[in-house]
């Protein structure tokens, strides 16, 4: 009996010891289902580092988790406007580019460069500080917004490609029968209406608020939704909806998995990305609470390697940030593997870097302005 207890004791001791191995740790705070586990394993093996990933589901949670300092995260992946806020509040460390040798061999895509410029502009407008955000952040993924449309409706596609935003906002003039849906995030609705009027969506003022209000009133949307929008266009219950490009790709890949061909799906519902559109970027930053700076830099450098970025994108499905990683995905266009081939085709259509567009990431407005937009949108909905 005593022997058994002794054995059990030893075993559990062994377990405890193996759990707290002497390997250095890299603590990452990420979004859920937003990394390829294979990539993490490869990194752990190659560098002998234990990667511990925590998950949060909003930028605001990222912010409060870093602020509260309960866990010292070495690497966080927030979005554009939150990075602006974190830099303004001195929560981030500047990156040591001498530890990121892969950076010199990659080129950011045009859209990514535009996002960095726009972030500098909005921060300058808000605080008067000239900030180069590349000093703090290396892009992880980015994505655009677009209009999912019902391709069973004759002529809608052509109208969208000829008249862009006008078809969506002035349905009466172009497509009186079109059922249209808007994302029920007030700032998205505001931004879309601003882009329709050829204005910068971050340019908030009371005058613009009035203009947007009348645009939204005229538009008279059939639906104000979120995930329901993409499903309703897919099911032929809506004809146009402004939403994330990722929302469309999400439904596209599901349909492809169910055995439809890409052309069949596109004949039913497709995505149009306007010449001026909203974008988001999620980028890797190092908070000033970080303890393992070397590992954090190693990980960023690892992901700057195009091969690794492409491997990560295989699972996540947003747009890669570098042209080199994009080229690797394009090399799958001739692939035997149908899933990879479809993925490459989808990337070539919807994340095509040859097409020149104007991209705007949304900035974080101050609470009063956010609230004014929210109330305006509620007033429009209630009529």
């Amino acid at each position: 009996m005593k022997k058994i207890i002794l054995m059990a004791g030893l075993l559990s001791l062994l377990l405890v010891l193996s759990a707290c191995s002497s390997k250095p740790k890299l603590r990452i705070l990420n979004w859920g289902e937003y990394i390829n586990d294979e990539l993490v394993e490869n990194f752990e093996k190659e560098f002998g580092i234990d990667v511990v990933i925590s998950v949060a589901d909003s930028n605001e949670l990222f912010y409060s988790k870093i602020k509260s300092k309960t866990t010292a995260f070495d690497l966080v992946i927030p979005s554009d406007y939150m990075i602006e806020k974190m830099v303004q509040e001195d929560m981030l460390l500047t990156l040591d580019y001498s530890k990121l040798p892969n950076f010199s061999s990659v080129t950011y895509m045009d859209g990514v460069e535009q996002i960095f410029t726009s972030m500098t502009e909005t921060t300058f407008a808000a605080t008067g500080d000239e900030v180069d955000f590349k000093a703090y952040a290396v892009p992880y993924f980015w994505g655009t917004f677009g209009i999912i449309y019902n391709n069973r409706v004759d002529g809608l596609e052509e109208a969208l490609y000829t008249n862009g935003w006008d078809v969506y906002f002035e349905a009466d003039n172009y497509f009186p029968t079109a059922r249209r849906g808007m994302y029920d995030v007030p700032q998205f609705a505001f931004a879309a209406a601003m882009m329709y009027m050829d204005k910068n969506p971050n340019d908030y003022s009371l005058a613009n608020l009035d203009l947007v209000r009348s645009v939204l009133e005229t538009a008279d949307f059939t639906e104000w939704g979120d995930d329901t929008l993409k499903r309703n266009v897919e099911a032929d219950n809506l004809d146009m909806a402004f939403t994330y490009t990722g929302d469309y790709l999400d439904r596209l890949y599901i349909q492809l998995d169910e055995g439809k061909t890409l052309d069949e799906v596109r004949e039913e519902f497709d995505l149009y990305i306007p010449d001026t559109t909203m974008v988001f970027i999620d980028a890797m930053v190092i908070p000033n609470t970080a303890t393992n700076l070397d590992a954090a830099h190693q990980f960023i450098n690892y992901l700057l390697n195009p091969e690794n970025a492409a491997l990560n994108a295989e699972v996540v499905g947003y747009a890669v940030a570098t042209e080199e990683a994009f080229d690797i995905i394009m090399s799958y266009l001739e692939s035997e593997d149908l899933t990879k081939k479809n993925w490459a085709i989808a990337n070539s259509i919807y994340y095509n870097m040859e097409v020149e567009r104007i991209y705007y990431p949304l900035t974080s407005l101050n609470p009063t302005d956010t609230d004014a937009i929210g109330t305006m949108v509620q007033n429009v909905i209630t009529g």
Binding site: E60, G181, D184, P186, T222, E223, W224, G225, T228, N232, A235, D236, N237, P367, T370, D371, G374, T375, Q378, N379, I381, T382, G383
Partner: protein, 275 residues
């Protein structure tokens, strides 16, 4: 023995004060001050500036929508639910428990799931249409009718259960006496059964009216975001971290609820309605 019961009642009283009374006081304080996530208690300033939100057209319309739909839902649940309860009471079926279980069958699945599916089959093109060849609900998704249907469908079981409980308690001897004294069955129902079951109707009405008044999920899904309830606005205010406005509207709702309960106790002096 009595003393021990008192001890057992204490945990809930503690629970009530910590998790209900204190938060309500905090909510009232937040609604009349500048207190929020970035302003600490030290910098507290009492102000009634948030009250102009109550004059915003969206707020007024949202209140009107909530009250209108809550009233209609209660009426429909009463008219439709009462007779189901009465039928169950009259039924010769021995195991009435099974009948009641069937009534609450819809509640076995998750509310959101049920509402989403309802929204689905109410829209123009849906799975039911491709099976049946015609639209059962006639594309009412996004309209007030859809919302009303969803609310009645969800909350009517509460009405049925309360009315049934009241009906079951009625002494059969009273009904026999009424018939003996020469009342026709219909007159017996209106003069004896119905008045005696009113307490169940009132309880049921409260259980239908209050959640409908404060709810937001069902109207949001079934109206496709087009019919705004006061709950929708409260949710939005909290999502976009405007705690002051959210708290203010929640306090107003609280007064509505308190008001309806007070109104009720006025009508119900003998305390028959479980309240």
């Amino acid at each position: 023995m009595n003393k021990e019961f008192k001890v057992l009642a204490r945990p809930y009283m503690v629970w009530l004060s910590i998790l209900v009374f204190v938060p309500i006081l905090a909510m009232i304080l937040i609604s009349i001050s500048n207190l929020n996530s970035s302003v600490s208690v030290g910098d507290l300033v009492i102000s009634f500036s948030h009250f102009k939100l109550l004059l915003e057209s969206s707020t007024l319309i949202a209140f009107r929508n909530s009250l209108f739909f809550a009233t209609l839902t209660t009426l429909f649940s009463f008219v439709l639910g009462y007779f189901i309860a009465y039928e169950i009471k009259l039924s010769r079926f021995k195991n009435k428990f099974i009948l009641l279980t069937i009534v609450i069958l819809p509640m076995w699945s998750n509310l959101i799931l049920r509402t989403e599916s309802l929204a689905n089959i109410m829209s123009e093109n849906n799975i039911l249409k491709s099976i049946l060849g015609f639209n059962l609900f006639g594309n009412i998704s996004g309209t007030g009718a859809a919302v009303l249907f969803g609310l009645v469908f969800t909350y009517m079981p509460f009405m049925i259960l309360s009315v049934y409980t009241a009906l079951e308690k009625i002494d059969f001897a009273l009904e026999e006496a009424a018939l003996d004294l020469g009342l026709s069955p219909i007159k017996k129902f209106w003069k004896v059964v119905f008045p005696l079951s009113l307490k169940g109707v009132v309880t049921g009405s409260i259980m239908v009216f209050l959640p409908t008044l404060a709810g937001f999920a069902i109207p949001k899904i079934l109206s496709r975001g087009r019919i705004v309830f006061i709950g929708t606005i409260i949710e939005n205010k909290f999502v976009y971290t405007n705690y002051n406005h959210g708290a203010l509207l929640a306090v107003v709702i609280l007064f509505f609820i308190l008001g309806s309960i007070l109104l009720l106790t006025k009508f119900d002096k003998e305390g028959e309605t479980l309240l």
